[in-house]
């Protein structure tokens, strides 16, 4: 058999070069605009499970519980007109009920903080894969839910805006989902 295969010669395709150039420009812009935000978000997530955060959320949940549920304090004082034995019994019961509720609230708030850290890590992994992610709950939301899960009629709700934290998560997730969609398919 003689002869060989087809001989290919390079050909210039201006439109392909233009597309490659645009892809490179997009990546350069991405590095400038979004990677710093991503890195900042990573730094934020790194500290989400620190002991200081756990202490803060436990304190916040306690304060909210006390504000929302002063009934136990009143109950402890309710035996004013009753005999001393009755009053002492009421007080002990009130301490048990209140401390038990507060213990479980703090526990739930602490578990919520660790959840938040895990979700933060998941969001980073999602961002890395070019997926859109959603913002994390604020710490106040975690504390509030811990109390709400325990008593329904919370009267004093912390509604402070956790915009910064949510914002970083949403921005980093949303914008990089857009940017990174081009990474695997430039």
């Amino acid at each position: 058999m003689g002869g060989g295969g087809t001989k290919y010669t390079p050909k210039e395709h201006p439109e392909e070069r233009e597309l490659a150039k645009i892809a490179k420009e997009q990546w350069e812009e991405y590095k400038t605009r979004y990677i710093p935000i991503e890195n900042e978000w990573m730094n934020t997530v790194s500290g989400l499970n620190d002991e200081a955060v756990h202490s803060a959320v436990a304190g916040q949940a306690s304060a909210e519980f006390m504000q929302a549920h002063p009934d136990r304090v009143r109950q402890a004082q309710a035996g004013m007109g009753a005999g001393q034995a009755s009053r002492r019994s009421n007080m002990t019961e009130a301490v048990n009920t209140s401390a038990n509720n507060l213990s479980q609230i703090k526990n739930k708030a602490n578990l919520g903080i660790t959840d938040r850290y895990v979700r933060g890590m998941e969001s980073i992994i999602g961002i890395g894969q070019g997926q859109e992610t959603s913002g994390l709950q604020g710490m106040t939301d975690v504390a509030e839910q811990a109390v709400q899960g325990r008593i329904e009629n919370s009267k004093n709700r912390f509604k402070r805006d956790q915009g910064t934290l949510d914002g970083f998560g949403s921005l980093a997730g949303g914008s990089t989902a857009f940017g990174l969609a081009k990474r695997s398919k430039p």
């Binding site: 070069r17 490659a20 991503e38 048990n96 209140s98 401390a99 213990s103 526990n107 578990l111 992994i125």
Partner: protein
């Protein structure tokens, strides 16, 4: 047979293809440098027994501090009423029982919740990573 090989111009641009390959390589390197460590971190975290130990420790501390605070409040209320703040035997027993029950509940909840979270992450949190490594990302 024989003769000259037929000549055909390539249907793609080698320079552009190389540029795109270089770009993909750079992006992949960036992913490995900045994002892959977070996948390792998540895997390490959910497998780390210290996570459950810490959850249980915090649960116990929460019970301790709640009872300390509740007891302090009760004793202050008594002082206001002009009574002795010392606990009698019945009160000691009642509070000790209540505290033990709260401790058991908090500890069990912390352990069960941590186990649930571990399973949830294993089955969902890393699923996207698997899809990507299989070329479906």
């Amino acid at each position: 047979m024989g003769g000259d090989d037929p000549e055909q111009r390539e249907s793609f641009d080698r320079v552009a293809a190389q540029q795109r390959a270089d770009l993909t390589r750079e992006q992949w390197s960036d992913y490995q440098k900045r994002y892959a460590p977070w996948e390792d971190k998540l895997i390490d975290f959910i497998d780390d027994p210290a996570v459950e130990q810490n959850a249980i420790r915090r649960a116990k501390e929460g019970v301790e501090s709640s009872y300390t605070s509740g007891l302090g409040q009760m004793q202050r209320n008594r002082s206001r009423l002009g009574e002795s703040s010392a606990l009698n035997a019945s009160e000691h027993r009642s509070l000790a029982l209540g505290k033990t029950a709260a401790m058991v509940q908090a500890t069990n909840d912390a352990a069960a919740y941590t186990a649930d979270r571990r399973e949830k992450v294993r089955t969902s949190g890393l699923s996207s990573a698997g899809a990507m490594s299989r070329g479906k990302g």
